[in-house]
């Protein structure tokens, strides 16, 4: 089975800190995604990458950036954390020729910004 690993389950950061959320997948998937989950809003796409060094903005990219230097790793960066970025962050990956648009998700990182 594909494994998608997010480096931290829980994080507490201070306002203004630079925050790195790391995601690693072990199945040579081309496509990787970062979502955030908030009550009543569902999963909203922040950024995605369909290949190494390629990135595309999702629906809510403001305040975030990403890095994909290697195929297996996709990092989400909060340049200056703010309290409205407190959320559950979910990373996902998918092979370009996988079953129709099915993703494999990591377990999530619960980020609290104080």
């Amino acid at each position: 089975d594909v494994k998608v690993t997010q480096s931290s389950r829980y994080l507490v950061k201070r306002t203004g800190e630079k925050v790195f959320l790391e995601c690693v997948q072990d199945m040579d998937h081309e496509n990787m995604f970062w979502y955030r989950q908030d009550p009543g809003l569902g999963l909203r796409l922040i950024y995605f990458s369909y290949d190494v060094k390629m990135k595309e903005k999702g629906d809510i990219p403001e305040g975030y950036s990403v890095s994909r230097e290697k195929k297996e790793r996709f990092s989400l960066i909060l340049e200056s954390a703010s309290t409205n970025q407190t959320s559950m962050y979910l990373c996902a990956s998918r092979g370009a020729r996988d079953r129709p648009y099915g993703y494999t998700f990591g377990s999530g990182t619960r980020l609290t910004v104080v």
């Binding site: 995604f33 979910l90 998918r94 998700f105 990591g106 377990s107």
Partner: protein, 114 residues
Amino acid sequence: DQQVKQNSPSLSVQEGRISILNCDYTNSMFDYFLWYKKYPAEGPTFLISISSIKDKNEDGRFTVFLNKSAKHLSLHIVPSQPGDSAVYFCAASGAGNQGGKLIFGQGTELSVKP
């Protein structure tokens, strides 16, 4: 604008009865629809999908129905079991969508009572 909507934030059902979760969409270009299930502190897991050229797909206790004219899909769980208690997300993807980007609904929290 919310292209995929789940208008019921929660649903409570008795064990053994049918659970029906609903989802509406606005974009007629979507070509695949998926349901994901999410337990607290875990990432979403794929449950079932349906292509836009079909109107029904069944997998064990889970059946998804698609009504393209109404832009509506539903997930039926029969019989419901306490272990089905989770948040269910509807998702959709469009033809020619680079990277297989999925658009999610807000989620419906299902509670199955013994």
